[in-house]
């Protein structure tokens, strides 16, 4: 059990790291693009640009949340 816990912690530290909001931002952006692709909402070329913009947008939101929660 201790080994499993340590193993899980190791991969959590490796993938999620210091700030879980980054992983959530990336996961959310990619999930939205996946849903749009599966639903056939637009052409794949447009989807790549939308995906890139969503990643930029969600990352910006995560870092703004970070700094807003530390307002003095």
């Amino acid at each position: 059990m201790r080994f499993l816990k340590g193993f899980g912690q190791f991969w959590y530290d490796f993938i999620i790291g210091d700030d879980w909001k980054i992983a959530v931002a990336v996961g959310l952006a990619l999930a939205v693009v996946t849903l749009a692709l599966v639903a056939g909402l637009t052409s794949p070329a447009v989807l790549t640009v939308v995906g890139g913009l969503l990643i930029v947008l969600f990352f910006t939101a995560s870092i703004l949340i970070d700094t807003r929660s530390h307002r003095s």
């Binding site: 190791f10 530290d13 490796f14 993938i15 999620i16 790291g17 210091d18 700030d19 980054i22 992983a23 931002a25 990336v26 990619l30 693009v33 996946t34 692709l37 599966v38 794949p44 070329a45 989807l47 790549t48 640009v49 995906g51 890139g52 990643i55 930029v56 990352f59 910006t60 995560s62 870092i63 970070d66 700094t67 807003r68 530390h70 307002r71 003095s72």
Partner: protein
């Protein structure tokens, strides 16, 4: 070598260099405060584990995984690593987080090593062994992902391996010579640049890899193909500059708390 090959070698060199410096700091801290033998056995075991991991991952990638799934998995990991680095670089440049200092990191590691209890297993100081193993393996896996992504993107794996290998060799040689953390390296600037590179390549690959969920399972294709990486690099750079400028202004007007208030 062509200009593109030099660029690839420089990118993998810089990204791997930072990872190797971090691993070196951990190993030196363990060696100096606990046991050199245990720390070096930890390094050796981590290198063996890395070789096994790389061989297994390489075999799986080459034989089982479709290209789009490989891009999605490796691209997503690289993107997360890159954005973590970029976030820290933005906060540090804005004065919202203390600058990374290998000497300070070394002090923290040695303090933790001194306060840890004595546990001996297989004739080794277990704390020194585990911390050294974990440090080298974690940083090493990141180097493996960097080499895979940069090498496959540029379709020149030998040059990517050469860049990472040269970085490892230089850090190891200087580390053995000076036996102290490499604090003179402009690590914050390097991390900023590497964060931009990883975020750009990661975005490009992760989004292309989403194609695995499409009808044919083929990778999506960016407009302009590889040139899109440059557009992504410019976008991440401009965003980081805009965020640093905004945070600096807010810090000056005391809207947000200054240095080291933002965690991690």
């Amino acid at each position: 070598m062509t200009g593109a090959a030099w660029g690839l070698a420089a990118a993998t060199f810089a990204a791997s260099f930072v990872e190797f410096v971090e691993a070196l700091t951990i190993v030196i801290a363990m060696g100096m405060t606990r046991s050199w033998k245990s720390a070096l056995v930890g390094v050796g075991t981590a290198i063996l584990a890395l070789v096994a991991f790389t061989a297994a991952a390489g075999y799986a990638l080459a034989t089982w995984l479709p290209e789009s799934l490989l891009q999605l998995v490796v691209g997503t990991l690289l993107l997360i690593f890159g954005l973590q680095w970029l976030r820290k670089a933005i906060l540090r440049s804005s004065g919202l987080k203390a600058l990374h200092d290998e000497d300070e990191e070394f002090k923290e590691q040695t303090a933790a090593a001194k306060s840890a209890g004595e546990v001996n297993k297989a004739g080794l100081d277990w704390f020194a062994f585990v911390v050294s193993f974990k440090g080298v393996f974690l940083e090493g896996v990141e180097v493996v992902f960097i080499v895979i992504t940069f090498g496959l993107s540029a379709k020149d794996m030998p040059v990517a391996i050469l860049g990472a290998g040269a970085a490892g060799l230089i850090v190891l040689t200087v580390g053995v010579a000076v036996r102290r953390p490499l604090a003179m390296i402009p690590e914050n600037t390097l991390k900023y640049g590497v964060g931009l590179l990883l975020a750009s390549f990661g975005t490009y690959w992760a989004v292309e890899g989403i194609g695995i969920f499409g009808a044919g399972g083929e990778s999506l294709s960016w407009p302009g193909h590889d040139w899109a990486i440059l557009a992504l690099l410019a976008t991440w750079f401009l965003l980081s500059v805009a965020l640093v400028s905004t945070f600096r202004r807010r810090t000056r007007t005391r809207e947000i708390a200054p240095t080291a208030e933002v965690n991690a």
